[in-house]
């Protein structure tokens, strides 16, 4: 049994959210540089150049990359032999979020009473937390400040099993086409296939934590990622929707067994400001 103080979890959460909002990861920067080389549209290349310049400026001057500092999405992996001391885990994460958004001058974008008063909670809490209990005695914290514009384009399809792989490709490609310039392309697309409705969407979101462009370890999923990316990039939407051949920087697929009657597919959109950070305690 290992004891981990909730204070340590708050500190780390705060640090991760501030860092994620100021500094794009090397994986994202590399994907953007590669896209700048590959883009055939001159306007598209200029957009990618601006995006890279913005990322460097934000990191240097400690400014948020984007004014939409997102919903604070947190994926936790908690070892079953860990005992959290000095308070509760959810409280610790929210305390970290509160501190990051205040001390880091990040925008607070969360409103309570979503279909009525919509009043700002003032500190960007509550975080959206997904916890998985795993073997071991570590805690892994992955943070994903998730912008509203891209999230709004998410789609869930409960396809017929007979739709098969082609049906999935058609659903995802149409979702991207319909979203157009709204989600701030070039995108990273998280695609969850199988499970149940909520499992599919959770996989789609979880897929965004992967290093950008790293293929799925599952051969079949990795092949689907390539095929989806080719078709999406043939849509012509391009960087910021100004036209071009790079609409998706990457497609990340996760899959799971499903019911004999079902073929759920979920698409979660990530804008080019793909902010994610993780650390292990």
């Amino acid at each position: 049994m290992r004891k981990i103080s909730s204070r340590l979890i708050s500190d780390l959460t705060a640090e991760l959210f501030i860092r994620a909002n100021y500094e794009l990861g090397e994986d994202v920067l590399e994907a953007l540089r590669k896209a700048r080389e590959e883009e055939i549209s001159p306007v598209g290349r200029r957009v990618l150049e601006t995006i890279l310049e913005n990322a460097h400026l934000a990191a240097r001057e400690k400014l948020p990359i984007c004014q939409d500092c997102g919903t604070a999405v947190v994926f936790l992996e908690v070892g079953q032999d860990v005992h959290i001391t000095d308070g509760n885990l959810t409280g610790a994460i929210n305390e970290g979020v509160r501190r990051a958004y205040r001390e880091g001058f990040l925008r607070k974008s969360i409103v309570a009473c979503p279909f009525s008063a919509r009043h700002n909670t003032g500190d960007n809490t509550p975080a959206v937390i997904h916890t998985e209990i795993v073997p071991g005695e570590h805690v892994r914290i992955s943070v994903l400040p998730k912008g509203g514009g891209a999230e709004n384009m998410s789609r869930l399809g409960m396809l017929l099993p007979s739709a098969g792989k082609e049906g999935i490709i058609d659903f995802v490609v149409r979702a991207v086409d319909g979203a157009g310039s709204n989600p701030c392309p070039p995108l990273i697309l998280g695609v969850g296939i199988g499970g149940t409705a909520e499992k599919a969407m959770l996989m789609a979101k979880h897929a965004l934590l992967r290093k950008v462009g790293e293929p799925s370890p599952e051969k079949e999923d990795a092949e689907l990622e390539c095929e989806l990316r080719l078709r999406i990039n043939a849509l012509g939407i391009g960087p910021m929707g100004y036209g071009g051949c790079i609409t998706a920087l990457a497609v990340h697929v996760e899959s799971f067994p499903t019911h004999i009657a079902a073929l759920p597919v979920a698409v979660n959109f990530q804008c080019h400001a793909a902010r994610h950070r993780e650390a292990v305690l």
Binding site: I40, S41, V43, V47, T50, I51, E53, N54, L57, A58, E61, K62, L63, P64, I65, C66, Q67, D68, C69, F105, L106, R107, K108, S109, R118, N120, G147, G148, G149, N152, V173, R174, D177, G180, S181, N182, C184, R231, A234, L235, G236, I237, G238, M240, G241, Y242, G243, G244, C245, C271, H272, A273
Partner: protein
């Protein structure tokens, strides 16, 4: 090469703009997004005055991050414009001449832009740090209870935008897709 354009816009200036033009805007723009649009259109319905004279003005759909010490504003990039679509024709009818945001507009807004001779500019979403450098003065002028959604008056210098929709029905998003699309759905 981007052309420089001084604000406020006029009908004459707008006539010269074509979808795809890259511009550097200088002058005054007004910031308003979701909640502010709701209040402004409600004010028009009631016959109450708007927080600023909207004729020939340009509205920027944006909600900045807080200004760190020593800065006028935090990151300040555009938000998705389509959420403002249901309010926009009313504001265009009242004289609004330009809009800055990102993402497609509804057919109703595009029609109203042609009718009232107004343009829609795209700014690069997710480039909030860079765009904040073009903002030289910031003043909250109304609805400060809305926090990041308050109405602000900004002075900008060489603020980079691209014309998405012009008054002739030109649409950069449509043109771009047509030029680079190799997939039939």
């Amino acid at each position: 090469m981007a052309k420089r354009l001084l604000l406020p816009l006029t009908e004459e200036k707008v006539k010269e703009l074509k979808a795809g033009d890259e511009l550097l805007l200088s002058g005054t723009i007004y910031v308003a997004r979701d909640a502010a649009h709701r209040r402004m259109t409600a004010a028009l319905e009631e016959g109450s005055p708007l927080p600023f004279d909207i004729r020939d003005q340009t509205v920027y759909y944006m909600g900045p991050s807080p200004a760190p010490p020593g800065r006028k504003i935090g990151a300040a990039g555009p938000t998705t414009s389509s959420r403002m679509d249901i309010y926009t024709p009313r504001l265009l009818a009242a004289g609004l001449r330009g809009m800055i945001g990102k993402g497609e507009r509804s057919p109703e807004v595009k029609e109203a832009m042609k009718k009232y001779r107004a343009v829609y500019f795209g700014a690069i979403g997710g480039a909030g740090a860079l765009l904040s450098r073009a903002i030289v003065r910031v003043e909250v002028i109304a609805y400060d209870d809305l926090g990041p959604e308050a109405v602000m008056r900004l002075e900008v210098k060489d603020f980079p935008v691209t014309v998405i929709n012009d008054i002739y029905g030109g649409d950069l998003y449509e043109d771009g897709k047509r030029r680079y699309r190799t997939l039939r759905l």
